[in-house]
């Protein structure tokens, strides 16, 4: 469902955590690599969208967030 606007920042945090837990996303700690971080996160979003058969856009859109918020198993979907 559509995200209530003020939730957007929270949702970005939530998505990061989700991708770390289930898609082996590792956030760069130093701010030097912010742009690389963003690209890395976009790639991981694409990977998750592809796994769930969503439209692969790399964007953190509603459908992608909806899917992330569903109750699920704690085991990663992909592993390094």
């Amino acid at each position: 469902f559509p995200v209530v606007p003020e939730n957007e920042k929270e949702d970005m945090q939530f998505a990061k955590k989700y991708l770390e837990n289930f898609y082996d996303f590792k956030e760069e700690k130093s701010s030097l690599f912010k742009s690389r971080d963003l690209k890395h996160m976009t790639d991981k979003i694409r990977e998750m969208q592809s796994f769930f058969g969503l439209e692969v856009t790399g964007e953190l859109n509603r459908k992608t967030l909806d899917m992330m918020k569903q109750p699920r198993c704690g085991i990663p979907d992909v592993r390094s």
Binding site: F1, P2, V4, F52, M67, P71, C73, G74, I75, D77
Partner: protein, 404 residues
């Protein structure tokens, strides 16, 4: 399907398990039965045999815990992660952990997560399976409530587990995928009580025939209930949802259980109180409140809680007027007006629908407010009404919203 890196599996056919503790949400016997049946699913399609131990170290140790519980993967409170399990191996290998902050149940219709379904998934991991991206497979990562009486592994699940362990030795006495087996087969866990009668009386094994979704542009299409939700419009019929959103052009087809797994299908009515980001669903004499995906605690409630007399057993339709903050409930040829601010029925109701809603001389199946106008659905027609000016504007087919 998928397996873990390097395909860890048990290098034997006799695998042991032990239930270390219980959830207070369920009777112990229901926990034991759910777990035994979950093992049975996997033993019925492999040569594996599962034996329950009551002390000491078993291959698969099963426990309930909340938050941090001694491994690197703390649980996250209600919702989100429900459980996790480790691939075959020594020590923690094979163990399955269930989040005690969830509400565990043996049902699939009320609030909570069905322990049998989640245990069957987690034990798939304990045996070496990873996640599947096949929607509907048991090893699909997202929880989906479904009827457990005749639960069947999908072919994807069977292909995955048989890639690790092969198929059963002798042909099982039952169809390989039936669940629950009508009588113990060779593969049942040896500790399962001899009396194998399933908790719910076995019904006739007729495959459940779920009615197919009607075509969007079927001229005879009717709806049970309709509501807005955060700018979108949801149309309900049986277990199906048609979702119309300003954010994407096509109509999305979903099921009620994909949004609210613990709500039963077949709503009578639904409406949104947009200022509270809250949607209420009605079925028979009960109603639930949801905000997005989450069902508010303390539901279902009886509709008499809203002020209906005991003589009203169910409502036909409901719609909230965002301008006046009142909600109209339609029952037979009458309607009530409910004040959302005072949370009480307004005086002088019920009144006849025909007296106040121009052109609506019959019962109302569903109702909707969109762009200030009201839409009353009756069978395969809908009536567009301007209630401020008490004017019936036009009559259309109920599915005119689907760009037919």
């Amino acid at each position: 399907y998928s397996t873990f890196p390097y395909n860890p599996r048990w290098k034997k056919e006799d695998v042991t398990y032990r239930i270390l503790n219980y959830t207070p949400d369920m009777l112990q016997e229901d926990v034991e039965e759910a777990i035994a049946k979950a093992f049975q699913l996997w033993s019925s399609v492999t040569p594996l045999r599962f034996t329950r131990l009551y002390n000491g170290q078993a291959d698969i140790m099963i426990s309930f815990a909340a938050g941090f519980h001694g491994d690197f993967y703390s649980f996250d409170g209600p919702g989100g992660t429900l459980a996790h399990a480790y691939p075959p191996g020594n020590g923690i290998g094979g163990d399955a952990h269930f989040d005690e902050d969830e509400n565990w149940t043996k049902f699939t219709t009320y609030n909570g997560y069905n322990l049998f379904l989640v245990a069957a998934h987690e034990l798939g991991h304990s045996l070496g399976l990873g996640h599947s991206n096949v929607f509907g497979a048991l090893m699909y990562p997202i929880y989906m409530a479904r009827d457990t009486r005749n639960y069947r592994l999908t072919q994807d699940d069977i292909d995955g587990i048989q890639a690790l362990y092969g198929s059963p030795r002798e042909s099982p006495a039952l169809p390989t995928k039936a669940y629950p087996p009508q009588e113990p087969t060779e593969m049942t866990p040896t500790e399962v009580p001899t009396e194998m009668s399933p908790r719910e009386e076995p019904t006739e094994m007729t495959p459940s025939k779920t009615p197919i979704r009607p075509n969007d542009c079927d001229p005879d299409l009717t709806f049970d209930a309709i509501t807005t939700l955060r700018g979108e419009t949801l149309f309900f019929k049986g277990s199906y949802v048609w979702r119309k959103s300003p954010y994407f052009s096509e109509i999305e087809h979903d099921t009620i259980s994909s949004f609210w797994p613990s709500l039963a299908a077949g709503f009578d009515a639904a409406y949104e109180v947009d200022k509270k980001d809250r949607v209420l669903f009605f079925k028979d004499n009960q109603y639930w409140a949801v905000s997005g995906y989450s069902i508010e605690s303390g539901f279902p409630k009886l509709i008499q809680n809203l002020g209906f007399p005991p003589s009203v057993g169910k409502i036909d339709a409901a719609v909230h007027d965002q301008n006046t903050k009142t909600t109209y409930f339609f029952v037979g040829n009458k309607y009530w007006s409910f004040n959302e601010n005072t949370q009480s029925m307004e005086r002088g109701y019920p009144r006849k629908i025909a007296a106040d809603f121009q052109g609506i001389g019959h019962t109302v199946d569903a109702a909707l407010q969109k762009n200030g106008l009201f839409y009353f659905f009756h069978g395969s027609n809908q009536y567009e009404v301007d209630i401020k000016n008490k004017k019936l504007i036009r009559v259309m087919k109920s599915n005119s919203w689907f760009n037919c």
